[in-house]
Every structure is written in C-alpha cells, then in structure tokens.
Symmetry: C2
Subunit: 345 residues, 2 copies
C-alpha cells in the first residue's frame, strides 16, 4: 500500500524574519512498510508543533551554535515535535496503531527511528491528543523543568512571565499560582492579556506593546520587585526586568524570541546589576530534564482531568497552512500554543 | 590622650572615572577613649584596602541599587575594608592591642561598633598582617566562595579569569590550578601577564589591551571552549566569553569593573546564546558567604605557610597617597592587590 506524502521544505537559509516564501511543498510517494531488520517506524503525523526554537535551525549553520541546534537543510523537509500514529513498525516497543510524540518531519508520513528522549509512547488518551504537542510534550516539560528545577520557587515569591500566553508561559503561570506565588504575565494583545487574567489565573497582566516604559510597567506590577523571571523574550524586556529584580532573584532563560530574527541583537545594558543583586540567570532547555518526563505526567495529568490546569491552543488546519502558522509565531499571531493539525486521526 | 586624625573625604558625588580631585583631606582630634557603656572600639588603622566595589558608593544614590550599596556622603570620610589595632575597647570581645579587620573609615583612627560579618578578630599573626586586607580578607573570601560555591568546578575543566592579577583573580587562578583545571588569565600589561604565568602558575595568559579581537584570543587559548568564567570586568569581554563558553558553562559574576565609570554601559549582545548553551550566570558577593570564613582560614593559612599559595600586593605609603591609589585601580595601575599602609604598627 502507498500514499502521497506532502512535505514542507526549507527553500534556503533564512535571514531576518522567516516568511512563507522561505518554504515550499514537495510531494513524494510513501510505501507502507519499513526496511526489514531495521528499528524504523512508519508514522502518520497528526499534529505538528510550531516552536520558536525552530528559527535557530533555519539560519546558516554557525560554528558557535551548530553543535547545539542542528540546522535544517535547504531542499529538505524541516522537522520538529509532533504527535503521530504508527502505521508500520520494525521497532520492538511500537506496534501498529500506537500513538507517540517526538521529533518527526513536517510531512504527512515520516519514517523515524525511535530514540530515548526524542520519542515518547503516548499512554494516556483520555486527554486531548493535541496536548502531546504542547502541554504534555516539549513545551509542557519545559515549563515544568524550568519552573521547578531552574527557578527555585518558594511560596509567596513574585513571578513574572513574558510571552505568558504562549505554549510554555501559560503553564508556568498556572504552576506558579499553584505554588502560592504572585504571578504577572505580559503578552502582545488585549485578547492575550485577558486570557492570562481570566483563563489562567494570573494575578495581573499587561500588554507590552502598549507600555512605552517597560521598567515602569514592571515597577507598577511589582512595587517590591521580582523574585523570579521566566524569560521567553529577551532584549529590552530583559533589561527592564534586571532593573526590577529583587536581591537573590532568579531568571530562567527559556528563550529570547524577540532576538531570533534580528541581524544585530539588542544589547543588554544593566547586567552589572546582577552582582550587587546576586541574581542568577540560568539558560536551560528541556532536553536535560526528560528523565523527569514520567514524573511530570504523574503530576500534571490528574490536574488536567480535574480541570485545574487548562491549556489554550491555536490550531492551523492542514499541512498547507503549516508555513504560515510557523511564520506567524514570530509576529505573535498565535493565541496560545500554535499547532498544525495534519490529520485528525 | 589624644591624636590628630587625618581623614579622606569625598568632596561630591562622582560622575565617570573618579579623580584624585574628588577627594580631600580633613584633620580632627581623636580622644583615646570610647563612650562609657557602649560597645564601641577605638582602632588605629594600619592598612586600608582599595576595592573596585567602592566606586558604586561614590555615585549619587540610585533607587535601583541604593539598598544594596550604601553611598558615601559628600563631606564625610569614605569607608572600606581595613586592618586595625585596638586602642581602647568597650566591647567584650576586643581588648587593647587586639588586631581586627573589617569596615573602617578612611582615616588614621576610627571608632567602630564591631558587627558580625563586618569585623573579624585576627587570630593568625605568623602571616603578613596586610593579607587581612586582601588574601585573608574580603577579596580572598570572594575568590574562595566564588570559585568553590558559585563556579561548581570539576577537575579537568577549563577556567578563564579576567583581571586575573588583581586582588581576587590571583587567588582564583591558584585555587583552580590546585583543583586540576586548565587556567587562563587576562590582564592589562606585560608585567601582569608575566606574573600570571611565572608567579601564580596560570597555564596561559594574555594582555587584553593587545588583542584586537577578544573572542579570537579566547578561541586561541581555549580551542575547546570555556567551562568556567570568573567575571571581574564585564562589557566586551563578557560578550566574547559567551561566544566561547561550552555547554553547561558557568559564569561567576564577581564584578564588572570596566562598566563602573561609564555613563552609558556597554551592551551585551550575545546573551541569547545562554539558552542553547545552558549557561548559568550567577551574580554573587562574599557577604553571603562569611559564615564560611573560619573554614576558609583553615583551608588557606596552611597553604600560605607552606608557600603553596602566594599573593602579590601593591602597597601605597601613607594615608595621603590613598586617593591616588584608589583612583589608580580604575586605570589598572595596581600590580596585584592595592593597599594603603596608614601606619606600619
């Protein structure tokens, strides 16, 4: 049996903001069998996850980062996290019909070789399957590890989350509230700010695009200063935060999306304050914490079932819409976690 | 009994690089007795320590830092770390003739109220007394805590120290070598670079003023990258270091002397790399670690006695030379730890 397989191709390395025209589609034929004697698995991709880190892979490989962010190859399909169903399997851990999440090509069907900490078999199916591309996948794990392992949070502390309605931020805010912190988020539209306050339970929120002075906005929200900053944006926001951090504050540097598309990144000017304030800035990513994934599921799935943790998704329909969805991420077009549904089942 | 007491006065808040003309001298008469019923101690100051952090106290108090760095008052004597001998004491822990180190005025005699973690009685007098203003005082404690507590060092790691021949750097380098690290330092003259290699046992060293491309200099010294950066200077150097850090690297932000006198600090542009590289930047100061001071002495004093740890001092003679010595620090004029000897006994 065979099927046509539409793929999203990177045309050439991206400079500046990615555009839809940086991508193209290619269609090939996929045969429903895996090479004999291999560990390979043929999967049908159901959901694809659009994530800011993918921008790093679109640029020309840079010796200073190449080892850390494997670049996409022009003319080839890009890849990222997705949720998939097994069609054929040569791998002892997977059988036809199993569901998994992990790294797959941006295409309708992928042949993968499942790898530890890259692919995860889906056990709980009484929660939305798409959650495994967000809340229960890499972004959720990032929020969980970033908040509990990197931020060293304590009850009663003040927590600021930027890009707070995004895939990671919305969970960080909810985790911080559950711990008894005072939590403020920022986002780039009234709709998102409303979501933070009404849906995710943030104590306060502001639209950074309407604040001429970010430091003053933070001062208004945190008159006594910030203990924890969950950093998703970088640039001017980071400088404003450093001014408003309390002594012994912690910054979990999850990402700096405002800088990824700039030819010349913005400077951070207030860094010498971190000595007097004894601030810790910790860059991290979830890859170092996937050994805690089962623990994360045990923690979070019951809260989802009880409705105590919620998640907002922005779902683009069909692989044809994938490039626009991915590009939109860098303009803040998504409201909540940006996904592409390739096939509903 | 009385004596004249020459004091170093701050004339007015300092902008930019401090100059000798920012300071003045005043002389008063001190009576050799302490207020009855007080805990006060009258001390004769023997050595004064010139430290970069003092620049922070010379500026007009700034709400973002005032709570952390108490500003000097114009018209009043400045203060800092020193080594002193007790002349009269109303404090149960100190008697006439005792030696102590801690915060005193920049003057020949000071009346102090000894405070925990601010003043320390000197127990070991078979080592040079001046060491208590450097190697065995605040700078030494800063190096010890910064290296062992903040850098999380491991044998075989690569360590880079800036301002490496200074009060803190020279000890950090020696501690790192004792741990079995590969250690490179930078400084601002051939004389200092030679000291690093011949006196302190650094594996390599370079004069940053002769390197047109700091990142290339670091690449040459660390072809495989830097695991630990002991940060004393900030600015362009920090940016060059971030480019050369290895994954999971640690930066102990002890100080950023290159930035203290700038009206507009330099920007740090490569900070978004810390996410991919999972770099930790930790601002710290020794005040949080003084509970380990006895442990530090037990560790370091035997090495000093055996000649296994050495220390280079730059000693200015007489309180009249104190402003020039302090100002010179910000131009790198000192070779080794900058002190002022007020009185030899």
């Amino acid at each position: 049996m065979t099927a046509t397989n539409k793929q999203v191709i990177l045309k050439d390395y991206v400079n500046g903001f990615p555009k839809e025209s940086n991508f193209d589609f290619k269609t090939n034929i996929v045969e429903f069998k895996v090479p004999g004697g291999s560990n390979s698995v043929l999967v049908k991709n159901l959901y694809l996850s659009c994530d800011p880190y993918m921008r790093m892979r679109m640029g020309k490989p840079d010796p200073s980062t190449a080892a850390l962010a494997q670049a996409y190859a022009p003319g080839q399909p890009i890849f990222g996290y997705g949720v998939s169903r097994v069609i054929e399997s040569g791998h002892p851990d997977y059988k036809k019909g199993d569901l998994l999440w992990g790294i797959v090509g941006w295409e309708e069907y992928s042949v993968i070789t499942p790898m530890t900490h890259m692919h995860f078999k889906i056990q709980h199916t009484d929660v939305p399957l798409s959650y495994y591309a967000g809340l229960l996948g890499m972004p959720g794990m990032t929020a969980y590890a970033g908040f509990y392992e990197v931020c060293s949070p304590k009850k009663g502390e003040t927590v600021y989350v930027s890009a707070a309605s995004g895939a990671v931020g919305q969970l960080v805010g909810q985790l911080a509230k559950m711990m008894g912190c005072y939590v403020v988020g920022s986002a780039g539209s009234k709709e998102k700010v409303d979501l933070l306050k009404t849906k995710f339970g943030f104590d306060d929120a502001f639209n950074y695009k309407e604040e001429p002075d970010l430091s003053a906005a933070l001062k208004r929200c945190f008159p006594e200063g910030i203990d924890i900053y969950f950093e998703n944006v970088g640039g001017k926001m980071l400088d404003a935060v450093i001014l408003n951090m309390r002594p012994h504050g912690r910054i979990a540097a999850c990402g700096m999306i405002s800088q990824y598309n700039l030819k010349n990144p913005e400077g951070i000017y207030g860094l010498s304050l971190i000595t007097y304030k004894r601030i810790r800035i910790q860059g991290f990513n979830c890859f170092d914490y996937f050994d805690k994934y089962s623990e994360f599921l045990e923690f979070v799935v019951p809260y989802i079932r009880e409705g105590k943790i919620t998640y907002v998704e922005d779902v683009a329909d069909g692989i044809e819409s994938a490039p626009a969805a991915l590009v939109g991420l860098f303009h803040g077009k998504n409201v909540g976690k940006q996904l592409v549904v390739v096939s509903p089942s």
